[in-house]
């Protein structure tokens, strides 16, 4: 049965089906379950009501990221509800024997769930990986099947280490061409979503292929897979290659010695076979991309940074026209206006999309020896404690602090704005995160999504700036 050419997705799917009854979803085995404080309390409570414990604590890892403050961790958590949620995570982890990277335990490895999974070597090619968070798609950069689940499904995985899943369709997302200087992985994914829309991937798993993808580092690949969900796809995958294996080697939970050799031999069988068929195919020329920025209230409302805001009167479809009018009204933007030079109040460099060491190096490259525009708030929030230490070893924090930016503790911070890091009503932010929905970064706040380079350039000028004008 396995002689038929198969895609990367099909190989992983087939290897994890525990049972498949007619007219029913597959019972899919989950290799790695990542847990955080916000989407898990009700799941653990459900487990408790059933009189059950976590079936495989050895395959379950928890962190505190969504609600955790990013100021000094020695200070008490003043938000009563956030504190209670964090204490419940601590209690649930302790009662079930789950490793928790938090405040009291594992603080040296705490961080955003999609940053720490890969950096600890927990994320490995060929795995099925779930988390109660839609950006679990990030882990697909390693040739794993990673996808977000709801809290009922979190409870299911805690109880059974399995999920009931209908097999999704596959879409080949071919990215060819070579990026021009100053254009980044973030611009690839923002360009893709601007071209195909936020619903294009519904019902599909993306596999990113093509020469542009092959040339990317692991951290750039994670940025792209991370935002698959913004294109409507629960999972985005990239076939593992030597770039993947080199990045993984030696990490804490990566296989060692003979186990590594055996794993590597298996991982090399995972890439999509010649002649395998996808259910759909889309493409993008990376060589034609400019740095991208969003102007609207969903991640598909994006354009080249040198462009002009679209005019609703030029949109034929009534629903699209209404959506654009609503978005521009919320954003306080006029049709046909350029975004270059538009003032911003806050710059946020962080999130599971762009808070890894390479992102911070990119931002520091621009900020070195320069000052943040007076009156502007610039937050740099590393993705994990390990990223923070690495940045400090390289002196990046000194560059940020000398420029006048804030250097904070790791967490989701202003990407989801539920820990006190948030915009005031009406403020504009340029943000390296993944969502520009109304109120996403604080009620009434207005978000421009862009790359770390664009964010850092705009931090210097206080207005939306094309980083290429500042790069030497």
């Amino acid at each position: 049965m396995n002689d038929r050419p198969r895609t990367l997705f099909e190989k992983i799917w087939d290897a994890h089906v525990v049972a498949q009854e007619p007219d029913s979803p597959a019972v899919l085995y989950i290799d790695l379950h990542l847990v955080h404080e916000v989407t898990s309390p009700q799941a653990f409570e459900g487990l408790r009501c059933r009189g059950l414990k976590v079936r495989r604590p050895d395959r379950t890892f928890a962190t505190l990221d969504h609600g955790i403050p990013t100021h000094d961790r020695r200070l008490p958590i003043v938000d009563e509800m956030a504190r209670k949620q964090i204490e419940m995570m601590e209690r649930n982890a302790a009662e079930n024997g789950i490793t928790l990277y938090g405040i009291k335990t594992g603080a040296d490895k705490q961080g955003i769930v999609h940053v720490i999974g890969p950096e600890l070597g927990l994320t490995q090619p060929g795995m099925t990986i779930v988390c109660g968070d839609s950006h679990t798609a990030t882990h697909g950069a390693f040739g794993a099947l990673g996808f977000g689940i709801g809290t009922s499904e979190v409870e299911m995985v805690l109880a059974t280490q399995c999920l009931l899943q209908r097999k999704p369709k596959t879409m080949n997302v071919r990215i060819d061409g070579a990026l021009k200087p100053g254009v980044t992985a973030k611009d690839i994914i923002l360009g893709l979503i601007a071209k195909y829309g936020v619903g294009a991937g519904t019902g599909y798993v993306f596999e990113y292929t093509g020469e542009a993808i092959r040339r990317l580092s692991m951290e750039e690949r994670m940025t792209i897979c991370n935002m698959s969900i913004e294109g409507g796809s629960r999972a985005g995958m990239i076939a593992p290659d030597d770039t993947t294996f080199e990045w993984m080697a030696g990490r804490e939970f990566a296989p060692k010695g003979a186990d590594w050799d055996r794993a590597l031999a298996y991982w090399r069988t995972l890439p999509t076979d010649e002649g395998a068929r996808y259910d759909a195919e889309i493409s993008l020329d990376a060589g034609a991309l400019e740095p991208m920025i969003t102007y609207g209230t969903n991640p598909g409302m994006g354009m080249p940074i040198t462009g002009r805001v679209p005019d609703p009167d030029q949109v034929g479809d009534p629903a699209h026209k209404a959506a654009l009018q609503k978005a521009l009204a919320y954003m306080g933007l006029r049709p046909n206006q350029p975004l270059l030079g538009h003032p911003v109040d806050v710059v946020f460099i962080g999130s599971c999309t762009n808070s890894r060491i390479s992102d911070l190096r990119e931002a520091a490259r621009l900020l070195k020896g320069r000052k943040v525009k007076e009156g502007l708030r610039v937050m740099v929030v590393p993705g994990s404690a390990q990223v923070k230490r690495q940045a400090e070893r390289e002196g990046l924090h000194e560059i940020f602090l000398a420029a006048g930016a804030e250097w904070r503790e790791p967490g989701c911070s202003m990407c989801i704005a539920m820990n006190g890091d948030q915009l005031e009503p009406g403020q504009y932010a340029i943000s390296t995160s993944n969502r520009n929905f109304e109120g996403r970064q604080g009620k009434g706040g207005r978000t421009f999504l862009a790359s770390p380079l664009t964010a850092a350039a705009s931090a210097i000028t206080g207005v939306i700036t094309d980083a290429r004008t500042l790069l030497q």
């Binding site: 009700q42 839609s134 009931l164 619903g199």
Partner: protein, 196 residues
Amino acid sequence: MTCFTTLTSKIVPLPVDNVDTDQIIPARFLKVTDKAGLGDNLFADWRYDAEGNPKPDFVLNRPEMKGRQVLLVGDNFGCGSSREHAPWALTGYGFRAVISTSFADIFRNNALKNRLLPVIVDKPTHQQLFSLCEEAPDFEVTIDLAAQTLTLPDGRAVGFPIDAFSKACLLNGVDEIGYVLRMTDQILAFEAAHHK
């Protein structure tokens, strides 16, 4: 567990495409550790002003909308975050079905697990429903899950898709976790054979 069989209700129309789960329930309400009370904050930032007073022009705040159990929305409803708080807020408010042309995958799964029925209709039916909401806003529709039909005021019954398993779970109140827990022997066998 309660079952879903048929439902007859008037409709709350919300003609917005790509409604994301941050709109359905903003993140600041996710600090709860149970599922109760989220209905009060359903669509909070569209529904209440800065002082927390209901905005009279938002559809849920119109007096005649009270008690309606079917929500009619634009394409790709429920995109964005995986928060199950979205269907908890919708059912907490009193909705039992949402009609659209398409739903985001994670939201759709989460809805089904909370006995909130996602009803997918074709574009012409979708437009007809929104037109009816303008012309005769107090009409009723009937959703029959067993027959997989949505019956319009003119008597036309429109079919909608749902996979057989989800349908059976909703009709019979099946506990999905209990269903998988009964497969423990198969899971153990799989784990023994799994390469790692």
